[in-house]
């Protein structure tokens, strides 16, 4: 039972701290901005789906998807565990792919997505914040990356 496992928790605590610190300092602001986007994207998607879903179902499903991504990113960026870390990498990565893909589609074929979503025109309607946010988010996550070899399974509290 005592096969060197005692040493691990110390090392693990340090590693998790670096990951945990991503919700402090600048990370606080990042989470707050993500929170605002989660809120507004959810409200907007809810409004679109409740009042005029039939007009452009694809665009409004996309709105709802964006809202879910923002909610997931907000929660996982705020939580401290390693599992949350990788979930936030996934959420922010999907967000970056989404804003670039939807931006390109709205640029190349405006007819395909007739209604505005958060990501249309690379987030034009929101001052391009949706485009800048995932880049900043990934930079921040990279700075707070877990130590090499740290697996999600090591995150049991």
């Amino acid at each position: 039972m005592k096969t060197g496992r005692e040493q691990q928790p110390v090392q693990r605590a340090q590693d998790t701290n670096e990951v945990a610190r991503r919700a402090t300092g600048f990370g606080r602001l990042l989470v707050a901005v993500y929170g605002v986007f989660a809120l507004s994207a959810t409200a907007r998607a809810g409004y679109q789906i409740a009042t005029k879903f039939a007009e452009a179902p694809v665009a409004y499903v996309l709105s709802a998807f964006a809202a879910v991504v923002y909610i997931l990113a907000t929660i996982t960026l705020a939580k401290s565990g390693i599992r949350s870390y990788w979930l936030s990498v996934a959420a922010v990565g999907i967000e970056l792919l989404g804003v670039v893909a939807v931006g390109l589609i709205s640029l190349l074929d405006p007819e395909l997505l007739p209604q505005d979503t958060v990501w249309s025109g690379f987030g034009q309607g929101y001052g391009y914040v949706p485009l800048v946010l995932p880049v900043v988010g990934l930079w921040w996550l990279w700075r707070h990356r877990p130590a090499a070899g740290q697996k999600p399974s090591e995150d049991r509290p």
């Binding site: 606080r28 707050a32 409004y47």
Partner: protein
């Protein structure tokens, strides 16, 4: 859009709070009485705005846009300073002042939208 007194008052309170919080962050201060009170002023404005909204509606003033949308915005806006306050006091770094400032800016944007709904201007 029609600029009314509520909008002017709200814009002054929210933008002043945003400036105070951003300046405090630049000066490397953590959240303090001044920045927290500036956000409390935003919350107070929203409460007055809400009570005035109820009185205006009861006395028969019509909302140009969707009434439920106006109240949806207002109820959500009321939560923003509270959430920002809760999120900022648990980390007393200067970034937390930017969180408070971001909340003030968010309320300002929501106020613009609420005024558009109430007065019936072109939807954004």
């Amino acid at each position: 859009m029609i600029v009314d007194g509520f909008f002017i008052a709200g814009a002054v309170v929210t933008l002043l709070a945003a400036i105070i919080c951003v300046v405090a962050a630049i000066l490397k201060h953590g959240p303090n009485d001044i920045t927290i009170l500036s956000l409390a002023a935003v919350e107070l404005f929203l409460l007055v705005y809400a009570v005035a909204g109820i009185i205006r509606q009861v006395s028969g003033e019509a909302v140009a846009g969707e009434t439920w949308e106006f109240w949806g915005y207002l109820l959500t806006a009321l939560l923003v300073p509270v959430a920002a306050f809760w999120w900022s006091i648990t980390d007393r770094s200067r970034w937390s002042n930017l969180v408070l400032g971001a909340a003030a800016v968010t309320v300002f944007v929501m106020l613009v939208r609420m005024e558009q709904i109430w007065d019936g201007a072109i939807a954004a």
